[in-house]
């Protein structure tokens, strides 16, 4: 929340016309620019003869999906889930375990990953949402770690060490995804689709209720809403979206391990959302790009690259509470 004096002298909203925030339009333009630039990555990789670039950016897009899904509950519901990486893991393990048994179709992988994520989100969310604040963080962390240790103990599927895939998921019997650039565009397509979905949800009736529970749960009850059911629904949607990123992550890495689900990963997702800008959707995407590029770049100089990341995070939080997205909005003269 920026506390910049807001538009007391703004154009008098004519009561007849419902408010349409022009901000949203330019956010759409920013999204278009970011996704458009991303779409050029395989081309650049081709021209610069650096195929690794496409693979690296596929990974970035995967985490952008995960961060986007986290922002849905963190930014719009003020639900700080510290176990979000578990859902990424469910998607990844859906690919690994099913492929091991000869089921390689990506749609089956997606269905299984989403299914497990939804069940886990309903069960753990129903319990975690009875608590607030720090307790919610701790409970989601505990459930996340339970999922982590469950997969660590699955020795048939690699246990602690993880498991390599024999190949990527197939699409209706074809090995389309074997091409790095196809996987890249599929991932980008998923990101854009889920971004549009999330944008629709936060502006819908449901989204407005969710944002209301973030602002003041007591007030919401006083006008007749029961916050729990809306928060739980959002928690489930976010979990399902994150599991999709897991399916794609397994395909990108062709390797799955419990490390995907560790609390470090959950923390990293939170960092991405905060760095990019809480409650902006696009912020999660930007945060994933920045964090992973910083990791790539800083780790060349030092193994202690996280210190550099920490410094950047501190600076952003101090000078732009709304993250990088907020910084851009201010630079472009909006939000004044």
């Amino acid at each position: 929340m920026s506390d910049s004096p807001a538009p007391t002298t703004a154009p008098p909203a004519s009561p007849a016309a419902p408010l349409r925030r022009p901000r949203l339009f330019s956010r759409g333009a920013a999204a278009l620019a970011i996704f458009g630039l991303m779409a050029l990555v395989p081309l650049v990789a081709h021209l610069s003869d650096d195929p690794f670039l496409t693979v690296a950016f596929t990974r970035i897009l995967v985490f952008a999906i995960a961060a986007l899904s986290l922002d849905l509950i963190l930014g719009y519901g003020a639900l700080v889930s510290f176990g979000h990486a578990a859902y990424v893991g469910f998607g990844a393990y859906a690919v690994a375990i099913l492929s091991r048994h000869g089921i390689t179709d990506i749609f089956v992988h997606l269905a299984a990953g989403i299914g497990v994520a939804v069940i886990f989100a309903v069960l753990t969310g129903a319990i975690a949402l009875r608590t607030r604040g720090v307790y919610f963080i701790m409970i989601t962390l505990a459930f996340g770690q339970m999922a982590y240790f469950f997969f660590t103990s699955l020795s048939a599927y690699g246990g602690d060490d993880g498991i390599s895939l024999r190949g990527r998921s197939t699409v209706l019997g074809t090995d389309l995804l074997a091409h790095n650039s196809v996987l890249f565009y599929v991932t980008l397509g998923a990101l854009v689709g889920l971004y549009l979905l999330a944008a629709a949800v936060v502006n819908s009736r449901f989204g407005r209720v969710l944002a209301g529970t973030r602002e003041d749960a007591l007030r919401m009850q006083a006008i007749g809403f029961r916050p729990f059911r809306y928060q739980l629904a959002a928690f489930v949607i976010a979990g399902a979206m994150a599991s999709i990123s897991g399916v794609l992550l397994a395909n990108q890495a062709e390797f799955v391990s419990p490390a995907y689900m560790s609390w470090h990963r959950s923390g990293e997702l939170i960092v991405m959302v905060i760095l990019g800008g809480i409650g902006t959707l696009l912020g999660g995407v930007v945060g994933a790009v920045v964090v992973l590029l910083l990791e790539e770049w800083l780790s060349v100089f030092t193994t202690h690259w996280r210190m550099g990341l920490g410094l950047v995070l501190i600076l952003v939080v101090l000078f732009s509470p709304k993250g990088i997205a907020g910084l851009f909005e201010r630079l472009l003269g909006r939000g004044k």
Binding site: M1, P5, A6, P7, T8, A10, P11, P12, A13, P15, A16, P18, L19, R20, R21, A200, V201, N203, S204, R205, F206, G207, R208, V209, A211, G212, E215, D216, L218, R219, Q221, A222, I223, G224, F225, R226, Y230, A233
Partner: protein, 251 residues
Amino acid sequence: MTARLEIRSLHKRFGALAVTDGISLDIAPGELHAIIGPNGAGKTTLVAQLSGQLAPDSGQVLYDGRDITHMDMAGRVHLGMARSFQITTILHGFTVLQNVALAVQARKGSSFRFFGRADAEPALNAAAIGYLRQVGLAERAGDVARNLSHGEHRQMEFAIALATAPRLLLLDEPFAGTGRQEAEQLLALMRQIKGKQTTLLVEHDMNAVFALADRISVLVYGRIIATGTPGEIRANAEVRAAYLGEEDAAC
């Protein structure tokens, strides 16, 4: 006729302190009933129990003859019970219009709709604007709620309460912290709804209470020591001794 709200020997203790100590009260449909009492008399605790925010230790709350003692807040709202808060409780990051439209949305259709912009629903916005006009806040509709003055917040709370289309309005000290001019405005608003809207007004402001109420109950240390018309209350010796005291001169 059944009372709109019937309170039967309600008790609530916080530790050794009996904050609500056997309160019984009837509110007739259409009545504007005020509860007055000094600070710490248990006024807000009473409202919290009536609205479902707090559970009483014993006793019953009946609404149109139906026992709602154990119903949650949202359930009571759906029965037509609206509440305003002593401490302004609004969605500060929302616009004024969104705040009111959300209250309209709560009773108009499902909120498990994931598509379609809620901001662009004409039915919600039109109804919300109507309530904002009623409280004289329509021209601030597009402003973010946090930028409104304290008095405007009180007006907004009122609009939100009205937007839930209540059959019983619980107002918890709406005059608290309002300036003279804001109080005048609020008073005019209350006069407007008086007679049309069953209201329980919990208030500290004597002028407002004696100007508005059909009946007044005096709450002291968790007990109602007197109920009657403003004239009766003013003349009641016990009330004068217990509460009105020097303030009486001002009335």
